[in-house]
C-alpha cells in the first residue's frame, strides 16, 4: 500500500535519513520507533510532502507520489496527524474537521463533507465539543482533533506522529482502541511512537530506526529482543536511553 525505496534526506552535511526502504501492506498497522533524532519525523515529513527527499522514491498504491505536493498526496489518500498538535486555533472543532472533509477528496460536495466530518467527530468522541474553539481544548482533545481532521480527509493510509505522547495510560488505551477502529474500517496506519506498550498493543510490524538508518523490521517481540536495538536504546548517550523497551509502565 505504501512503499518507500532507498529514501534519503540530507540537511547540509547531516544525513537525517539514509537508504531507508520499507513497505506497508494494506490494512496493516506499522510502527516506526527509534531514539530521538533517528529520523522518524523526517521520514513522515517526506512521505506527506513537507520535505523534499534528497534521494529515493515513495509509492502510494500503484502511484509514485515522490514529486506530488502535500495537497495532491492528501487527495491521493494520505492522511497525517502531527506530533506537535496544530489545530487552526480560530476555528471551532467542527470547522477544523470540515477543512479536511471539504478539501481532502476533490469533488466532495458540501453535504457529503458534513457527513464525513460528522463521522470523524463521532469516532473521535468530539461530537459534544463541536462548537468549542480549538484553542480551548485539552491536550487529549487536541490529539483527538488531529486524528479526526486526518480521518475527515478520507485517507487510505493514515500517518500518526506520536499521538500518544503526553497522554495518561487510560487516555492512551482509549487512543489505541481508536486507532484499531480506524484500521478495522480498512485504513492502513503508519505511526511513530515512543510509548512501548502502545507499540506492543497496536503494531503488526515494527521498524526500528537509528541515526537515520533502518536497523531492523519485524514483530514487536522480534525487534525488542534484537541486540542491535537494545544497544541503540540503552547504549547511546542521548535522550533515547530513558525510552528503553519494557521500562515504560
Amino acid at each position: 500500500m505504501l512503499r518507500v525505496d532507498a529514501l534519503g534526506k540530507r540537511f547540509g552535511g547531516l544525513a537525517a535519513v539514509r537508504d531507508l526502504s520499507f513497505e506497508v501492506a494494506e490494512g496493516e498497522i506499522f510502527a516506526i520507533i527509534g531514539p530521538n533524532g533517528a529520523g522518524k519525523t523526517t521520514t513522515l515529513n517526506m512521505i506527506s510532502g513537507l520535505l523534499e527527499p534528497t534521494s529515493g522514491r515513495i509509492r502510494l498504491g500503484a502511484r509514485d507520489i515522490t514529486h506530488l505536493s502535500s495537497a495532491e498526496r492528501c487527495h491521493a489518500g494520505l492522511g497525517r496527524a502531527f506530533q506537535v498538535v496544530q489545530p487552526f486555533p480560530e476555528m471551532t472543532v467542527e470547522e477544523n474537521v470540515m477543512v479536511g472533509a471539504l478539501y481532502g477528496t476533490p469533488g466532495t460536495r458540501e453535504r457529503e463533507a458534513r457527513q464525513r466530518a460528522e463521522d470523524a467527530l463521532e469516532r473521535c468522541g468530539l461530537a459534544p465539543l463541536r462548537s468549542v474553539a480549538a484553542e480551548e481544548l485539552t491536550l487529549l482533545q487536541e490529539k483527538r482533533l488531529e486524528i479526526a481532521r486526518a480521518l475527515a480527509t478520507g485517507p487510505v493510509v493514515l500517518l500518526l506522529d506520536e499521538v500518544m505522547a503526553g497522554l495518561r495510560p487510560a487516555e492512551a488505551r482509549e487512543a489505541v482502541s481508536l486507532v484499531r477502529d480506524v484500521r478495522d474500517r480498512g485504513v492502513t496506519v503508519v505511526f511513530i511512537e515512543h510509548v512501548m506498550p502502545v507499540v506492543r498493543d497496536l503494531a503488526d510490524r515494527v521498524l526500528v530506526m537509528d541515526y537515520g538508518r533502518p536497523l531492523i523490521t519485524g514483530s514487536y517481540r522480534e525487534v525488542t529482543s534484537d541486540p542491535q536495538v537494545i544497544r541503540a536504546y540503552l547504549g547511546a548517550e542521548d535522550e533515547g536511553a530513558d525510552q528503553d523497551p519494557g521500562a515504560e509502565a
Partner: protein
C-alpha cells in the same frame, strides 16, 4: 448556501437603500445633498478598498500593493479613453481585468513569501509599477504630468428648468449609483467567500499553510484566487475614481496613502469580516470629515490619534468591540449602565465568556 440567505437579504436591502438614497437626500437636505452625495461616494469607495484588502488578508497575505492595483485600473481607464473609443463604462471592468492579471503575475512570484517579506515585495511592486508608468511614452500615459480622463457622465443640462446645484446633484447621484453598485458587488464577493467553503480554505491557509496543504487545501490556488478577486475589485475602483476625479497622475494615483487606507480601514472595523471593513469605512469617513470641518489645518493629526487609540483599545476593531459588548450584556435589563456592569463584573469581561 442556505446560511448565505440572510446575508443576501441584507445586501439586497442595501441595494434598495442605495437606489432610494439620492431622492431622499434631496428631499431632506436640498442643496446640501450635493456634497453629502459626494461624501457618501467617498465612503463607499473606501469601503470597496477595505473589503478588497480584507479579502486578501484572509489568506494571510498582508499586501502593500493596493495602490498599485488601484493605479493600474485608473491608468487603464485613462489610456483607453485617450487612445480608443471604448465606452467609458466598459473601462471599469477592463480596469479590473488589468489589475487582476497583474495580481496573477505578482501573486505567483510572491507565493512563498510570508509576513513582512510579502509586504516588502508588494510595496516594491507598487513603486516599480509607478516608475514604469512614468516611463511609458508621454503620448500614451502622459509621463509625470499624467492624463486627463473624461467624466463617466456628461452633465445633465436642461436650460432654464434647473438650478445649478440641481445639475451637480444629478451628476453626483449618477456616480453615487455606480459606487453603490460596486460596493454591492464587493459585499457579494466578500460574503460568498465568507459563507462558502472558501472560508475554510482561506482561514486554514492563513493560520497554517503547511497543515492546510496536508489536509488537501491547495494553498497556491487559494492565495492566487484571493489576490485576483481582491485586485479586480480595486482595479475597477481605480478606473471609476479616475473617471470621477477627471485625471490620473503617477504621484497621486499610485500614492501610498491608498494602500494605508486599504489596510487601516478593515483593521479599524474588524479584520476577516464583511461587516468590519464597511463599518470602518463609514465611521472613518465620518470622523475624517468632522475633523476636517472642525480643524481645517492639521486635521490629519487628530485622525491619526483616533486611529492609534482605536488600535490600542479595540484590537479586534469595531466588530470585535460590538461582539464583546453583546456578550458582556448577556440578557440586559433595559437601560442598565454599561460602565457599572463592567466595573461590577470585571472577570466576565476579561475572559470574554458568556455568563
Amino acid at each position: 448556501m442556505r446560511r448565505a440567505l440572510p446575508d443576501l437579504a441584507w445586501t439586497l436591502l442595501l441595494a434598495v437603500l442605495v437606489a432610494l438614497a439620492p431622492a431622499a437626500m434631496k428631499a431632506l437636505f436640498h442643496q446640501a445633498s450635493v456634497s453629502y452625495l459626494s461624501l457618501a461616494s467617498n465612503a463607499m469607495s473606501l469601503a470597496v478598498l477595505a473589503l478588497s484588502w480584507d479579502l486578501l488578508a484572509r489568506t494571510g497575505q498582508l499586501s502593500l500593493a493596493h495602490a498599485a492595483f488601484y493605479g493600474a485600473g485608473a491608468y487603464s481607464a485613462a489610456i483607453l479613453a485617450k487612445l480608443t473609443g471604448v465606452p467609458l463604462f466598459l473601462a471599469l471592468p477592463i480596469g479590473g481585468l488589468v489589475a487582476a492579471l497583474l495580481a496573477l503575475g505578482l501573486g505567483s512570484v510572491t507565493l512563498r513569501l510570508r509576513g513582512i517579506y510579502f509586504a516588502i515585495a508588494t510595496l516594491a511592486f507598487s513603486e516599480v509599477l509607478k516608475a514604469v508608468v512614468q516611463e511609458i511614452p508621454t503620448g500614451v500615459a502622459g509621463g509625470a504630468a499624467g492624463l486627463n480622463v473624461p467624466p463617466l457622465f456628461r452633465p445633465h443640462f436642461v436650460p432654464g428648468a434647473m438650478q445649478r446645484w440641481e445639475i451637480a446633484f444629478l451628476r453626483n447621484a449618477d456616480y453615487f449609483y455606480v459606487y453603490g453598485g460596486l460596493l454591492v458587488l464587493a459585499i457579494l464577493v466578500s460574503t460568498i467567500a465568507q459563507r462558502s467553503r472558501l472560508k475554510a480554505a482561506f482561514t486554514a491557509v492563513r493560520t497554517n499553510e503547511a497543515v492546510a496543504a496536508v489536509m488537501g487545501v491547495r494553498p497556491a490556488r487559494a492565495k492566487l484566487l484571493a489576490f485576483v478577486l481582491s485586485s479586480a475589485l480595486v482595479g475597477t475602483l481605480g478606473a471609476l475614481e479616475a473617471e470621477r476625479l477627471g485625471s490620473v497622475i503617477p504621484d497621486g494615483t499610485f500614492a501610498i496613502s491608498t494602500t494605508v487606507f486599504a489596510l487601516v480601514t478593515p483593521i479599524f472595523g474588524g479584520l476577516y469580516t464583511t461587516l468590519g471593513p464597511i463599518l470602518g469605512a463609514g465611521v472613518l469617513s465620518a470622523v475624517e470629515e468632522t475633523l476636517r470641518r472642525t480643524f481645517a489645518e492639521g486635521y490629519l493629526i487628530g485622525y491619526g490619534i483616533v486611529l492609534v487609540a482605536s488600535i490600542l483599545f479595540m484590537p479586534r476593531g469595531l466588530v470585535g468591540l460590538a461582539n464583546r459588548l453583546a456578550r458582556r450584556r448577556g440578557p440586559p435589563p433595559p437601560g442598565e449602565d454599561e460602565a457599572v456592569r463592567t466595573a461590577s463584573d470585571p472577570g466576565a469581561a476579561e475572559s470574554g465568556e458568556a455568563p
